[in-house]
Amino acid sequence: MLAYLFRRLLYVIPIALAVSAVCFSLVYLGPVDPLMAVLPPDASLELIEQLKAAYGFDKPIPVQFAKWVARAAQGDLGTSIATGRPVNSELARAISNTFVLAFFACTFGFTLGLALGFVAGYFNGTWIDKLVTSFAVAGVSVPHYWLGMVLVIIFSVFLNWLPATGMGTGGSGDWAWDWEHIRFVILPAVTLSVIPTAIITRTVRALVADILSREFVSALVAKGLSEAGVFWHVVKNAAPTALAVMGIQLGYLLGGSILVETVFTWPGTGFLLSIAIFQRDLPLLQGTILFLALFFVFLNLLVDVVQTLLDPRIRRT
């Protein structure tokens, strides 16, 4: 087991390096010189050279990459071209805001998904199952950025119950766990949770239905085990897969928050990403994508390890 964990851990290193290379090379995909976005059109050649040297763009590409990785490994992601502030501090604030959003979205979505999945699995084939399944199909089909707009139309425009955009009066740096702030997170969190909820519902429903149809469940019932006792066995058998799906969904949720954060102008990583793209702020773009991708790699690792600990039969190489 330890050897497996060690190998799995080692495998993260080449992946992380390759992910960094992809993030880094994004700069060279673009048609525009990143410095042109900040330079005045009549900038002198001397000034351009100075700025290039300041940002390290005058070195050969492999050298730039090596330097960038070395500094990123030490936690320095460079300086934002647009604001002149370190990418780290911009990113740190955005990450904490996205985590607040993800926390509410996960709590709501995972609970609902698990509950609906178990109910549909237990009532496999009945009208309850059909209702839940259609809800899940609708959930994976709905463009969530549009659903966000519809929720704003209903709850902000017509009912005037919840705020439509933003994070509260204090702005992006001032989050507190009270109702004054939580009312702002409800609509974006519900919007963000729709896809994970639907996917978890589908997976858990199929899992539970499959487990209930196995012979050991009939044996447990036959020997007179209580409903609750059988349920506990179902939970134990469903847990590894369900946890894996939830872990991956958390990653997708963080990576995919850009659309929801745009709809609700929530100042998180997704919002930062769209700023970076439209201001062509490449250090910020690279840094944000690198953080989100590495977090996803780490989450995948965690899921694999937890899954293997729960069920030693599953070992991925």
Binding site: V22, V137, P143, H144, Y145, W146, G255, A276, I277
Partner: protein, 294 residues
Amino acid sequence: MSAVAADIQSAPAAPAQGYWRAVASRLLRDKVTVVCALVILGLILMAVFAPWIAPDDPLKSSIFKRLQPIGTQGYPLGSDELGRDMLSRLIFGARLSLVMGIVPVLCALGIGSLLGITAGFMGGRTNTAIMRTIDVFYAFPSVLLAVAISGALGAGVLNAILSLTIVFIPPIARVAESVTTQVRSLDYVEAARASGAGSFAIIRVHILGNVMGPVFVYATSLLSVCMILAAGLSFLGLGTKPPLPEWGLMLNTLRTAIFQNPWVAALPGLMIFLVSFCFNLMSDGVRAAMDVTR
């Protein structure tokens, strides 16, 4: 049960022709799938014949007729923030939206299955090289990868299609690789090789026939995701450029109008939802119809 007996049981009883006929007849009996296919077909026809169907020019704006509500004289579905006819824009918007939602999956189906079959059939180092490269792209959540690539490339329809193709190649290649690896070790492939068939003959006759079914079913399930992502890229301003009508972009420009005319603003999203919902149900139907064990 012995392996041979299992093989005989799982083999289709009738020749390949009969299998596809059975799939077709099962699909035709599935009402949900038929209705969804008809809706999609109708929308494709609507997109193709847009100039003849649309009541008005989708680009003609009017300062005096901005944000008319649904049902206004001359504007059956209202008008947008520049006074353009919503119905005509929705009809013309189907063109770009459907192209951006379908073409990436088709391209990825071609490239991804080529990569996957090559990796699965060759095995060894080729397999490692291809599949490990693909693992790297798996390390990105799909929305993030699409946004990152098209953000770096710059806004534009072709760039959006390119970035979505890159997003969908890895999952398709993985499915193609795993099925090819399974099929490659089956006895009849060995028999074909022993009787002197070359690699290309084996791939063409034995591998393609067995691999493309599951890969195709998997690709249909990506259509709805692609539709949502493509419109999402346009919604972020990374796809189509204004004033061209496209549902995602329309949703974005109308976002400012939700306080004046909410229902008109929500219309383009309803179209995206409709298409993606139909794609999803169709994919479920195709999967069920192609499942021989049922």
